[in-house]
Amino acid sequence: MNSYLASILIFTGINLISVLGMFLLMGLTGLLSFGQVGFMAIGAYVTAISYMRFGLPFGAGLLLGVGVSLLVGLVIGTVTLKLRNDYFALATYGFAEVIKNVLIYFSGYTGGSMGVFGIPAIVTLPMVIVIFLAALVLCRNFKVSKLGRNSLAIRNDELAAKVMGINTFKQKLLVFLFSAVFGSVAGSLLAFSTYYIEPNMFNWSKSVELIVIVFFGGINSLTGVVFAGMALTLLPEILHFGAEWRMVIYTAIIIVTMIYRPTGLFGRWELSLSQILGWIKGRRKSAVGRGGRGA
């Protein structure tokens, strides 16, 4: 495969992994968070620094990044998740900015605003695909189990959810941490596929991008979110849009979606395994029928 295409696909896969985290948090649980990019930064920097400075293997560094993200997430989540949803969004924005500034300030380790250079490209396309599929399966399990029902209930009516026996704070915290893991893993993969990382890669606009994708795909549709993630990451790459035009397109998409399809492109529709099998079977049957064995 041509390496340009491979690198675009790797980038798309990584983006999809953090989009999935955002889907659980914002789509299913209704928590608008600008902090997802903060966890990506933590994952990227922890893995990169532990590899470059301390010779930790990539896999171990990735897990270390997840561990740090969980610890930070626990602190941030405990403090902010008791806030009303709009204040929570603001607080997570602050969190992401703080992470960015910490990275710039502690330049001895992080290289400051210059970033970390010379990270080897360990991440391969098959690796990204496997991790993405694993993440997808986890998300699907989440959605079809009581976890998904609890989250959707909280998103729709938090008081009623409480009265029906859900510990809403605990559920929100668990989802927040879980999505932080997705962000952190995506960050680690990103660092080891782009040669260098710098704080500005983890701007708040990156979180906005994730939010737009979830919003566009459908806040209650895993299928839609994966589709939107692919479309909105691949298209600008293929069409070579500059970064400034990307934001314009994203905001336009938000406005159009809000007006014409407030539940997102796919709404609540999901592609299920049985549907796919059904199509294949139907095809076969009609093929057999055409083969002259009918009647």
Binding site: V137, L138, N141, F142, S145, K146, L147, R149, N150, L152, A153, R155, N156, D157, L159, A160, A161, K162, V163, M164, G165, I166, N167, T168, L174, F178, N220, R268
Partner: protein
Amino acid sequence: MKEQPKTLLQMNNVTMRFGGVVAVNGVNINLSEGRLAGIIGPNGAGKTTVFNLISGVYDPVEGDIRFRDQVISGKSPSEITHLGIARTFQNIRLFKGLNVFDNVKMATNCRTEYSFMEGVLGLPRVWRQEKESAAEVERYLELVGLLGYENTWPENLAYGLQRKLELARALATKPALLLLDEPAAGLNPTEIRELMDIIRRIHKELDMTILLIEHHMDMVMDICEELWVMNFGKVIANGDPEHIQREPEVLRAYLGS
């Protein structure tokens, strides 16, 4: 000799204030196990506030609430649901992102035991419990007459059916005490008769203690065994329906003479 019925719910001198307004003022309620009882009273008498206090939406300013001799005032709504109290809402509060089936199924969540990790990994225990819950949900949907609507979105249901769905959802937490906040509001006479049958069936077949708030006097007088009458945040009368109907205080509250 007949056994003395045990007290299930006890409100001792409970007071609730919102700013300067005393919504509930020194209320005492003693509900025996197995009762089908009601709270009536004019609008603004504090009935729904009593429900909000029992279900933990508010904490009382004074007094305490006991359920099976355990103090529940101060506990969170979800803890109280786990102890065995469920409720419906006067203004229907169904979950719009979940279909009819999942609206009821989510209420069984408080009894499923698998953890977050088991859930996302999709371990066998998850599927076993999900299956058990699904069977239960069918039972409750059948009981309230909503079989066949499993895949409908709640906002597409007729009003009367939405009320029934709320009822099924509350039942699915398997409560010992069921609080119904104006279950007949907005229903037509036929639907009210149906609802009365359902409530009687729940009371008998599922062996639940039921406390309901209602404005339809015919219904209340017909199905309730015991009544509390509230006015201006106070309980002004308590007793069986026949006794209540002759109470001068009650007549004054309702007729305003």
